[in-house]
Symmetry: C2
Subunit: 261 residues, 2 copies
């Protein structure tokens, strides 16, 4: 049995709480949050607290709080030599106060409070100073059905950066498509199956092999017409830059002229 004390009550902490409390091999010993209101409705299920002085013994203390407050909160913990982890993709493991043994339990997924989360779709990237602690983190992740990856701080920060590309930036491309289709009274729903298929395609094919379209084919007529159709200068710039990036990846010369047959 792994005992866990959870600190924080935001998106990540709330989903972790639900998953941990369902897992057979895990006990959530306590749930701490600085504001009590967010957790008080759980007081019949676990011990909810808003004072750090009340913290009890546990195998893992998980600080699922804002990046900026991880270091500060770790310094306020009233004990030493216990195992303390944060859940951030970007914060260094050494930002945790060194009085305790340190680790990271980073769920690489996008969380929002309302949507249900199936943790089998949430890879957990773990890091720990000691092998024994890494193995506890691995068991905790497996107990909620998550795939587990051993990752060091540099790799985790690169993953966090990669996540910005595949999540935030991709979503912004959806947004631009939404804008330009809306402007011509086109239902955005028409694009949704393509959005989903594009994501599914790279499940078992590399993005390199999955690429198609006018940039890869260097279809100058279409590229030119598309640029003409775009009314917003920033959209034009994005079109040009990503087209150049695709050409670069696929070795399409950017200066050559194509002859039409």
């Amino acid at each position: 049995m792994i005992s866990i004390v959870l600190l924080g009550a935001g998106n990540v902490a709330s989903h972790l709480y639900k998953a941990f409390s369902k897992a057979k091999s895990i006990t959530v010993t306590q749930w701490y949050n600085r504001s009590f209101d967010a957790i008080k409705s759980y007081q019949n299920e676990t011990e909810v607290i808003d004072s750090l002085d009340k913290l009890k013994e546990a195998d893992i203390y998980i600080l699922a709080v804002s990046d900026d407050s991880i270091s500060k909160l770790s310094k306020m913990l009233p004990f030493s030599d216990k195992f303390v982890v944060h859940t951030s993709g970007s914060v260094n493991i050494h930002d945790l106060d060194k009085r305790n043994k340190r680790g990271v339990f980073y769920p690489l997924q996008t969380f929002s409070k309302t949507a249900e989360i199936d943790f089998s779709n949430v890879p957990i990237c773990i890091e720990a100073e000691e092998r024994e602690h890494r193995s506890i983190l691995k068991s905790a992740a497996e107990a909620i059905g998550s795939p587990v990856y051993k990752i060091n701080t540099e790799q985790r920060q690169i993953l966090h950066l990669s996540a910005v590309f595949v999540n935030n930036f991709t979503n912004q491309l959806y947004r631009i498509a939404h804008e330009i289709s809306d402007a011509k009274n086109i239902n955005f729903d028409i694009l949704k199956p393509l959005i989903l298929e594009t994501a599914k395609k790279v499940e078992d094919m590399s993005p390199y092999l999955a690429q198609t379209g006018p940039a890869k084919r260097n279809d100058k007529k279409t590229l030119k017409r598309h640029l003409k159709q775009l009314e917003n200068d920033q959209h034009k710039a994005i079109y040009e830059l990503l087209t150049a990036s695709i050409k670069q990846t696929h070795g399409v010369s950017t200066s050559s002229t194509t002859r039409k047959s």
Copy 2:
């Protein structure tokens, strides 16, 4: 019963052939391709031909051939006053020879020859000069289980442009994430659940509402670190441009300074 003659044997034609031949209310009268090899294995199922002179009567002639050859092929058809459509997202309906009645049957999805296609995930955008013909196209699309949308040429070309953003450009962002994670020996598989979730999220939430991350939060510390981590100048430029685009969409001032609490 709708009778169809299919012309072309590429990605789109092959998938349409399979779907049409399974549909109860559709007969594929003939399948034409200029090179016979691509279709000859189907000669026990339908009439396969490589000469336009042999073309028989049908309700719809579907030209599923390369964009560049649609106009030329339509001029070579040895008949007039029949109903001829192409399947392209970007070619004008008027590029079809005007001796025949014209239309478009554009499947908004990414096709590759190997992958199985479920046409319930392939929205068909239809256009026709005459209402009666539009209704035949609608029935043909419904017969293979596809959602149908009535779209004019301008809207179709904007959809095609939007498809470049949500398909080709999005896939290129996946590619960049693949490159930067590969460079640090990180398994790209870790990012796949996030890729899928990002696509699923906009099924029932607008991309505007789905946005999160350092650009939207104007988290300058993270933005700066990410830029430092990117080694490739083109990747840096893409990071900066898409970050600016997110800030613009969400009204984040690009000049303001944030104070850390």
